[in-house]
Amino acid sequence: MLETRSLSKSFGPIQVTRNVSLKLEKGERRVILGPNGAGKTTLFNQLVGELRPDSGTIHLDGADVTALRVADRARRGLSRSYQKNTLFDGLTIAENLGLAAAVALGKGQGLWSDPLQSAEVRETVRDVAAQVDLAPHLDARVDAVSYGIRRQLEVGIALATRPKVILMDEPTSGVGPEMSKGFHRLLKALPRDLTILIIEHDMDLAFDVADTITVLNYGEVVFDGLPEAARGSSLLKDIYLGAWEDA
């Protein structure tokens, strides 16, 4: 469903992505681990088209999308949430979700009707709000709700496009342990045919939801395998997991 082949990217002398090759099957849930500065978000930015790789290719659903722009990749079913909330502040939660659904349905430039009133968009808003537990807050303005709700909306907007592949950049970043558990349930309840790639520092969540784990270090894939194998890897303990296991 999503594949990268020898993806590399440098900022001046600093190489942030080194020959990264990944292959996600349809419905696979993969967690990307790695210490700060490992190149995880930079990899996401290349996958969605916000950054151009220096070399290598990206394939979505069998098609080479390396040269496509962000919006074109989104229209092919690639969606993302951001590590820092990237919402439509000043609008309500329903309007945020509705706008995302409208654009994804190709109604974002129509002139003759209000997409927010269309049955299709309203149904999507209702469904996604239920998925990410935002139904009680639909009429609240985004700048008037708590950080946790904003985090849920961040993922909700990405889901409202009905994507084939969703990239989530630290969805539990900054939320408490209880809310983090809520995200576990949310992720597990998503449709099984949805391909999910998650950057996550929460190890419990990573091992709980992941079918496979990829570990990046200095922009390079140093581990790619099953969660059980990741737990036992001494290499991972050295570069990343040691602190977690010792804790």
Partner: protein
């Protein structure tokens, strides 16, 4: 998102009633002022559409108005078109020019967007100013008023012309409001709030911006046609950046991003201009002081102030706290 709140509807109804009553009783000078207000109102509706709702602050709307005025005059005088086809042609030209400007400037934001539009506006101004084909700095005279004699309406009559101008304001408002309630309008507001996210959701940002700018340009072109018909004379001054700046002042004075507010701003601005200029030639300084007071009050113009005061009287809805387990 744009909605017709009760206050907005009530303000619209009051403005319409006041304008129609005034049109019925005013003398020649009053009717001329009413037509002047109508022309400015259409221009500021056009500007508020992109600046207030889309965050695209333009300094070329004067030029778009001027292109509409000149195109109408040339089409009617030189090509021999009657007023209606000449208006359609002029509006089409303003629309096309605005689309190009919107498409080229779409990648820039903030001060860079303002400067890019200013450059386009000044290019149009210079072209008209220096071109002997369009009368140079003398301008062109003889722009006709539409012939509605078949309907028993004589637009050479000031009262009939003022009512016709008010009808065009209503049309411009309807177009702007319909645009804001469309998918494009919803995206335009989204672009103002978060362009990056909308792009990531799949919106072709440049096309949305250019289309919104084109619709705004069409309305500015309509204002230009009306301006040409009003004075039956066009001059390069219509394309000057000061016209754009004045329109921006009116939008801010009335209430950016409210659509109704700028119309109120146009009424206040024209009345202030005429009343204060009768007392002192330094009327710009007085209007400047009023604008500074409005900006410093942190209210969103006169209409924004009314909205804020009214909202403060209403009990605020309780926002539920996040559930602990998400």
């Amino acid at each position: 998102m744009f909605t017709h709140t009760p206050l907005r509807l009530a303000t619209l109804a009051l403005l319409a009633a006041a304008a129609l009553t005034y049109a019925a009783v005013a003398g020649f000078f009053g009717l001329e002022i009413l037509a002047e207000i109508a022309i400015l109102a259409i221009l500021v509706i056009a500007l508020d559409l992109v600046a207030g709702f889309g965050g695209m602050v333009s300094l070329c709307h004067g030029a778009l108005l001027g292109v509409g005025a000149y195109a109408f005059t040339v089409a009617a005088n030189d090509a021999g078109l009657t007023a209606l086809p000449a208006m359609i042609l002029a509006i089409a030209l303003s629309t096309a020019l605005a689309f190009v400007i919107g498409a080229v400037c779409a990648r820039s934001t903030g001060i860079y967007f303002i400067m890019a539009t200013l450059a386009f506006g000044q290019m149009a101004y210079s072209f008209v100013f220096q071109s002997p084909l369009y009368g140079g700095d003398d301008g062109l005279s003889g722009a006709p008023r539409p012939d509605l004699s078949a309907l028993g309406i004589d637009l050479t009559d000031s009262r009939a012309f003022a009512l016709y101008a008010l009808l065009l304001v209503a049309l411009a408002y309807a177009v702007a409001a319909a645009t804001l309630r469309s998918g494009l309008g919803r995206s335009l507001v989204g672009l103002h709030h978060n362009e990056k996210r909308l792009r990531a959701l799949g919106l072709t940002v440049w096309r949305a911006k250019a289309t919104a700018f084109a619709i705004s340009g069409a309305l500015a072109g309509l204002a230009g046609c009306l301006a040409a018909q009003h004075t039956q004379y066009v001059s390069p001054g219509l394309l000057s950046w000061t016209v754009s700046g004045e329109a921006l002042v009116v939008v801010i004075l009335g209430g950016l991003g409210t659509l109704v507010g700028p119309i109120l701003g146009a009424v206040l601005f024209v009345i202030l201009k005429h009343e204060i200029s009768a007392l002192t030639p330094y009327w710009h300084a007085i209007v400047g002081l009023i604008l500074i007071a409005v900006v410093m009050s942190r209210a969103n113009g006169v209409f924004g102030f009314l909205e804020t005061r009214l909202a403060a009287r209403k009990p605020q809805p309780q926002v539920k706290e996040a559930k602990a387990d998400a």
